[in-house]
């Protein structure tokens, strides 16, 4: 079960296999390759047309600066600008904060919940699963309005509940620190159940025999968890981690609607910033430059994450 992420594949055989049937299986090399092309072809074609072209276009645009309807070539100036722009730094810091706090928090909770839900003796499993999945299914508009109402400083549900246990009301959306807390809480609320479902799918793919064999060998619950479940779940956890990481670094929806990036840019993330630059200041070149910086960072973080999880094996 090795995953060859970036390792080059072997040299192609010069023979081409005739068809997919017939007893001459010796050409397994070439045979292994050509059907591979056909399977990936639709995705690749779509990718090239609808992704690569706009992508190259955005890369091209990042070498221009647009003001007053005129675009002028500025070379790498937009990229250099990135290093002098305090908002770029601030947005990266905010994204990093969310990455470091929210993602592990959420994946652990999701893992825990999935594990609990997977217990064979559990009743109301469908009910629990569905309820936890509900948040992921809400439309963005509704979810943000509801949270804004609930987090309102005066009379919002959150502060009313706090009041019941004697805590003073928190200025959730107007205070820099609390706004970040509120953002992390709302992202976690929204996506934990979703990740739980995916991890649960992985859990249920673990063959029962493995558990049986371990139990016969006298392994305790913790040993089973750490030596059987986690390793078996590795691909799924990896998937969950990487997608959550990318989600955190690319955070846009939640803060766009909940806080608009404020207060005082405390919840500004790179994608929200590039969106503002592109759609409110119409400097699409700079927006593209920000995007490419982000891509580079995400790529590095993802590779690091991948390598770490591989090493743990």
């Amino acid at each position: 079960m090795t995953s060859t992420l970036l390792r080059p594949s072997g040299r192609p055989s010069r023979r081409s296999s005739a068809g997919a049937d017939g007893p001459a299986r010796a050409r397994s090399g070439a045979r292994r390759r050509r059907p591979g092309y056909w399977f990936v072809l639709p995705a690749v074609a779509l990718f090239v047309i609808f992704f690569l072209y706009p992508l190259l276009s955005s890369l091209w645009q990042s070498f221009f600066s647009t003001t007053g309807g005129e675009s002028t070539w500025v070379g790498a100036a937009q990229y250099l600008r990135l290093f002098h722009d305090p908002l770029v730094a601030e947005s990266l810091f905010n994204a990093g904060l969310i990455l470091v706090i929210q993602v592990p928090l959420m994946v652990c909770i999701a893992l825990g919940l999935a594990y609990l839900l997977n217990q064979s003796w559990l009743r109301f499993r469908v009910g629990f699963r569905t309820v936890h999945f509900l948040p992921a299914v809400t439309t963005l508009v509704a979810y943000s309005l509801v949270f804004r109402v609930m987090l309102a400083t005066d009379g919002g549900a959150a502060n009313q509940i706090l009041g019941m246990v004697g805590i003073a009301p928190v200025d959730w959306l107007n205070n820099e620190i609390w706004a970040r807390v509120a953002l992390i809480a709302s992202i976690t609320w929204r996506w934990t159940g979703y990740n739980m479902v995916i991890i649960l799918a992985g859990l249920q793919g673990i063959p029962g025999e493995l558990y049986e064999a371990a139990r016969i060998d006298g392994a305790g619950r913790w040993a089973i968890f750490s030596k059987i479940v986690i390793p078996q779940l590795r691909p799924v956890i990896l998937f969950s981690s990487i997608t959550s990481t990318i989600g955190a670094l690319q955070l846009f929806d939640e803060n766009f609607i909940l806080t608009g990036g404020g207060p005082n840019n405390a919840t500004l993330t790179p994608v929200l910033y590039l969106y503002k630059v592109g759609f409110q200041q119409f400097d699409f070149g700079y927006a593209s430059a920000i995007a490419w910086l982000l891509v580079a960072i995400i790529a590095v973080v993802s590779v690091v994450q991948f390598v770490i999880m591989k090493e743990k094996k």
Partner: protein, 435 residues
């Protein structure tokens, strides 16, 4: 070479050859509109909220008077309307024949897409002077061409809770200056415990309103940054003073302000004429508790109004039927009867000054205990100071809002906060500070 890449290569080359450069070629300045040309065919109009309702209503009147024409009004909602329009402007396609653009968004569009809007001057000629001057200036380009037609005005006045003022023993009609209002606020707080104003500091809109009242914007007429002026410091100091005296109620967002007003958290609300719609719609139980007076002046005898909001209608140059579009826009906006009907039915306060003479504006309003509030707004509308927006208003607005919060909530000296904001805007936009 793997087959998949073999297929891809020519496609990529094709894409590069066809030029994946920035947004398509902006079209020329658009059709030359004639004032009374024959019209036919169909147009599509984008708008939101009550504006869309008004458009639909008047569109059906128009098509009855002009058989053979069809007008499709689409409500695109307000929340992301500008994203939709910006993309269409950038790509030079995808926009309808008529779009709704708020007055304060128009300068940025004019600057960024100078060739994307049709000149509307031929439609109305000298009638241009019959509109609210602050709106005409915001809708025109440097060459004096009118690139969108003013629709409704956001004339600002002060809505006062008469019961609170009565309890404090203050007469709302005697508020000549902001200092008077602050003194009144202190009394109201002592007598009723209520704050003076509920506002969302994080938007900075109160500050910009106060600044415009003094005839200034974030930028001067020649595009330099105006935040270090006396007027700016005065405006911010005013807000800070209010907060220091416990007179400010900081809420979040539109819903925050509506809730605060409904619950009577504060005694006054400086806001535009369209606030009346919210009052009558969401708070019918508060009828007869409000009066409307002009804004207190900064110095006795100074301007007592400002602007907040108000929209315009524009015809993108990519419109397929600009002639019909122009005719319809003129029908809607440069027309006394129709403007009056929009006031009556949709609560849209005309920026077409002749309309303000209609009897409707002199009628007593039941919600305000029989006061003729529209007379007040009508009298103030021609006095709204014109300001310069520039294309950097959005960027600057964010920075200014942060400075307002920093000064008011974190106790920073207003002049220092504004200077810091000015420096940030200078860095972000490359403009210079005003001397």
């Amino acid at each position: 070479m793997p087959r998949s890449l073999k297929l891809a290569a020519p496609l990529v080359a094709l894409a590069l050859l066809t030029g994946c450069a920035s947004g398509g070629v902006p079209s020329s300045t658009g059709a030359k509109l004639a004032s009374d040309a024959a019209v036919s065919g169909q147009i599509t109009v984008w708008s939101w909220d009550v504006a869309a309702v008004a458009l639909k209503r008047l569109a059906s009147t128009y098509t009855k008077e002009h058989p053979g024409t069809t007008i499709n009004v689409v409500d695109i909602g307000y929340d992301n309307a500008y994203d939709k329009m910006s993309v269409g402007l950038q790509a030079s396609s995808g926009l309808p024949d008529v779009i709704t653009v708020e007055t304060d968004h128009m300068p940025a569009y004019i600057h960024q897409f100078p060739k994307s809007f049709t000149d509307l001057t031929p439609l109305i000629g000298a009638d241009k002077d019959k509109f609210d001057p602050s709106k005409v200036s915001a809708s025109s380009n440097a060459q004096g061409q009118l690139l969108s037609m003013p629709w409704d005005s956001g004339t600002v006045a002060l809505y006062v809770r008469t019961d609170y003022f009565k309890a404090a023993g203050v007469d709302p009609s005697k508020l000549a200056t902001w200092d008077d209002l602050i003194a009144a606020g202190v009394k109201v707080k002592a007598a009723t415990g209520h704050a003076l104003i509920s506002t969302d500091l994080s938007t900075g809109s109160l500050f910009q309103m106060l600044l415009q009242q003094q005839g200034q914007g974030i930028f001067t007429a020649d595009g330099t940054i105006n935040l270090t002026s006396d007027a700016a410091v005065k405006a911010l100091t005013l807000i800070k003073t209010m907060n220091d005296k416990g007179l400010l109620d900081n809420v979040k967002g539109w819903d925050g302000r509506v809730t605060a007003t409904k619950n009577g958290k504060s005694a006054v609300m400086p806001e535009a004429v369209w606030w009346i719609g919210t009052l009558t719609g969401e708070m019918p139980e508060l009828a007869n508790k409000f009066t409307v007076v002009p804004l207190p002046a900064f110095t006795a005898g100074g301007t007592q109004t400002s602007n907040d909001g108000g929209s315009t209608l524009a015809i993108p140059t990519q419109a397929k039927n600009p002639q019909l579009a122009g005719s319809f826009v003129k029908f809607m906006l440069a027309n006394t009867d129709n403007q009056v009907s929009m006031m009556k039915n949709e609560g849209l306060f005309p920026s077409y000054l002749p309309a303000l003479n209609a009897p409707l504006f002199h009628e007593p309003q039941a919600y305000f205990g029989g006061e003729k509030v529209y007379e007040l707004f009508a009298a103030q509308t021609p006095k709204i100071p014109s300001i310069t927006y520039t294309s950097d208003n959005a960027k600057a607005g964010d920075i200014v809002a942060n400075a307002v919060a920093a000064s008011v909530l974190n106790n920073q000296d207003p002049a220092a906060a504004l200077k810091s904001a000015a420096d940030q805007i200078a860095t972000a936009t490359g403009r210079k500070l005003a001397q």
